[in-house]
Amino acid sequence: MNETLVECRDLRKVYGRKTALDGVDLSLGRGRIVGLLGPNGSGKTTLIKILCGLIQPTGGAAAVDGRAVGPYTKSIISYLPDRMYFADWMRASDLFDLFGDFYADFDRKRAEAMCQSLGVDPRDRMKTMSKGTKEKVQLVLVMARQAQLYLLDEPIAGVDPAARDFILHTILTNYNEAGTVLISTHLIGDIERVLDEAVFLKEGKVTLHDSVDGIREKTGKSVDALFRDVFRAQPMEGGAF
């Protein structure tokens, strides 16, 4: 088992005229919780989708556990997409069946226990659930796998602050200790304490990769405050025509 779990080298992705990833170099170790932080449109979802094998990079290479993205890497990655993808007639328990069929590392007992602690009844149909509850079910599915890499795309975006705490707690208490969790978000204040490392993505490039406490030590600022500084929108300066 090599020390590096995720390795991206000069990763590029171009959609037509728009460059989503502009030469991303990134190395992630094992047993870490990493925040992938950037404003909307900075390339977070694109990077995650490439690691999942859902889209192909235009250039560069991505490897997980020393192997190029492919069937093997998919088997060790648990992915939480940024949107819902289930049929709404399904019950949470149907989804457990589905995941049990698809993934050898899906732990159904654990999923049921997590549902219980999150106050979700697995017999409820998806369409009767609130947005927050649906997100919890999705998270349960993803965290109940014994994966090596968890890719969570905006797991806390659509839920209230109390549910957010619950979700973070669920991530903290359920991830596989030998595994790495990569969480993309722009809501940094809420998750900062949970992270080992922060990766700043700006216009398709990695502009910073350091430990959260390293950032605090060096800058005397929280990652959240630093993020606001780095990504502060430049207001239009009028009158310069």
């Binding site: 707690h169 903290l172 900062e192 304490r193 992270l195 406490d213 605090r216 600022k221 405050a225």
Partner: protein, 119 residues
């Protein structure tokens, strides 16, 4: 006791201070077993590696001891705990004098006022 964090300093430093405070105040009594890292991390809502680092600092300060098999225990050495307690007292006293100086009180005046308030 609630865990509280400020934005300007490393989280592990703040964790280790708050753990030390719990030992000094007897919330974790001398010689008792500390909860496992994961449990403490979940309770404080922080990353387990960060909590690990905070606990390592406690060990370095002599307030806790790691046993190979039994996890971590609070030191049974009353002297070490007392010294930490005095260090905390010192911090509070300094903060008091600083705040009083801001208000324009001399050190002596601050002492006199404290004595008056204490009787």
């Amino acid at each position: 006791m609630e865990w509280k964090f400020s934005d300007d300093r490393p989280i592990w430093v703040q964790l280790s201070e708050q753990l030390a405070r719990r030992i000094v105040t007897g919330a974790y009594p001398p010689g008792s077993k500390l909860p496992p890292v994961r449990e403490l991390a979940a309770e404080a809502g922080v990353n387990p590696n960060t909590m690990q680092r905070a606990l390592a600092q406690l060990e370095q300060d002599g307030l806790a001891r790691a046993d190979r098999t039994a996890g971590r225990t609070v030191t049974g050495d009353a002297g070490v705990i007392e010294a930490a307690r005095m260090a905390y007292a010192r911090v509070n006293i300094d903060a008091y004098f600083d705040a009083m100086a801001d208000l324009g009180f001399s050190r002596q005046a601050a002492v006199d006022l404290a004595r008056e308030a204490g009787t």
